[in-house]
């Protein structure tokens, strides 16, 4: 394979259109193993679209994306293979309402890795304990709070043993008092050295765990810098304008 061993994701010259809208423009991005990235930017800047391209939930029209040395094919060929290495956590949690917490976590490992029910259950319990929600394993999603649901969603993704975790505004749909429990869970993951890309406006989180903060606007990566630099001495006008908007509130 062409990539170095410590590169997890490599995007080069990625372009995407929604109809006539050019939503990603020449994105070049390399993410190393164990790296924590925070992506921020105004709404409609393309940050969610960018991470959705990595696991082929969106199709790209130009450029290449490689995950763990596997290149994503045109029209999403190879997508299932890549998705198994990439965990994703959604803004709306997207837990399966008809399955218990435990079943939510066991479904994909059982269907894809074809492991036994007992093994899947052990694995699920392990990650549910890690996100401190194992005692709710028998409950259905609708019986949990938003924060609890999101933690289950994180555990569900971890059960597939992903090489990288993508977070798509994981705290935006939560009531304010539940944001912390989810961020704490994510910080815990970061401490374990898991590779992660996180679309979020939680700048405290960015300061605490990000190796690099990336600012996007109108489909372009405008600025990439370590958090101290990014928040202390942003180079670009648009970054400054954005930061002043979200930090002054």
């Amino acid at each position: 394979m062409t990539t170095q061993n410590n590169t997890t994701i490599r995007m080069s010259a990625v372009n995407k259109w929604f109809g006539k809208m050019h939503v990603l423009r020449d994105i070049d991005l390399t993410v190393n193993k164990g790296e924590h990235l925070v992506l921020c930017g105004p709404s409609g800047s393309g940050k969610s679209t960018l991470i959705r391209c990595i696991n082929a939930l969106e199709e790209i029209q130009g450029g290449t994306i490689e995950v763990n040395g596997n290149q994503l094919g045109k029209k999403g060929a190879n997508a299932d293979h890549i998705r198994r290495d990439v965990g994703m956590v959604f803004q709306q949690f997207n837990l399966f309402p008809h399955l218990t917490v435990l079943q939510n976590c066991m479904l994909a490992p059982r269907r894809i890795h074809r492991i036994s029910e007992a093994e899947a259950r052990d694995k699920a319990m392990h990650f549910l304990e890690q996100v401190h929600i194992a005692e709710h394993g028998h409950k259905y999603p609708a019986q949990l709070s938003g924060g609890q649901q999101q933690r289950v969603a994180i555990a569900r993704a971890l059960c597939m043993g992903p090489q990288v975790m993508l977070f798509d505004e994981p705290t935006s749909a939560l009531d304010p008092e539940m944001v912390k429990e989810v961020l704490d869970t994510m910080i815990g993951l970061a401490d374990q050295g898991i590779t992660m890309i996180c679309v979020t406006h939680e700048m405290g989180f960015a300061r605490a765990v990000a190796h690099r903060v990336i600012f996007m606007d109108r489909g372009e990566i405008i600025e990439t810098a370590p958090p101290t630099e990014f928040f202390g001495t942003p180079r670009h006008d648009r970054t400054r304008a954005f930061l002043s908007q979200i930090l002054n509130h």
Partner: protein, 221 residues
């Protein structure tokens, strides 16, 4: 003044009971087969291949826009011309299945369309294949969403079985017609018959509700 006399009708209760059993039996078989075929039609209806979609739409609209009775005659009297000779019972079950599947397909489709896109994306993001996503993630919530319509459709179909008496399939209405021919108590016979159908439809409603509560009972907000 007409003197009502229900006695001869009740004397023939064995015939009615056997007929009622036959009605339940052919309804249940057709429902099960119709559900399976209806789901296949739904899959075709939503397939990425245009030809499959057109076939499914054409079939569904043809069935939904012609009377069940004409479909029964077409299958029972017309099919032998094409070499498919069926007895009355077989023709009845086949027609009911074909008929029911078109309505079920429309109902199931609206159920599938009611599922949020995020559910499918979550399955995809976990690396699940499309068939697995529909089978394990979409199916149950989709059916749950349209279960009341599905039940009404099943009951409507059970009531429709009365029409297969016209090709001498031996179900409840056929039994009643036999009693009518022997007793000449038409009004009494059909009054009792109506009451039996009313009870059957309540029983179906109860039974289907019970199935719904066991298979689809998970809490929602």
């Amino acid at each position: 003044m007409y003197d009502f006399d229900f006695a001869p009708v009740f004397q023939a209760w064995r015939l009615l009971a056997a007929g009622a059993w036959a009605t339940v039996y052919i309804s249940a078989i057709s429902m099960a087969l119709g559900l399976v075929f209806g789901i296949v039609l739904t899959a075709m209806r939503m397939a990425p291949v245009a030809a499959l979609r057109s076939i499914a739409i054409g079939y569904i609209e043809l069935i939904r826009n012609t009377p069940f009775l004409v479909q029964v005659f077409f299958i029972y009297f017309g099919m032998p011309e094409l070499g498919l000779r069926l007895n009355a019972m077989e023709a009845a079950i086949l027609t009911m299945t074909l008929n029911c599947s078109a309505y079920i397909a429309e109902i199931v489709r609206s159920g599938v369309e009611s599922i949020r896109k995020g559910q499918i994306e979550a399955g995809r993001a976990l690396g699940m294949s499309t068939p697995d996503v529909y089978r394990f993630i979409v199916f149950r919530p989709a059916i749950r969403a349209v279960y009341p319509s599905l039940c009404s459709q099943f009951i409507l179909m059970m009531l429709n079985t009365s029409l297969v008496a016209s090709i001498s399939a031996q179900e409840l209405t056929y039994a009643a017609q036999m009693i009518d021919n022997q007793t000449f108590r038409s009004f009494e016979v059909y009054f009792v018959l109506g009451a039996i159908y009313l009870i059957l439809s309540q029983l179906f409603s109860l039974g289907l509700g019970l199935i719904g509560r066991t298979y689809f009972s998970y809490p929602t907000k």
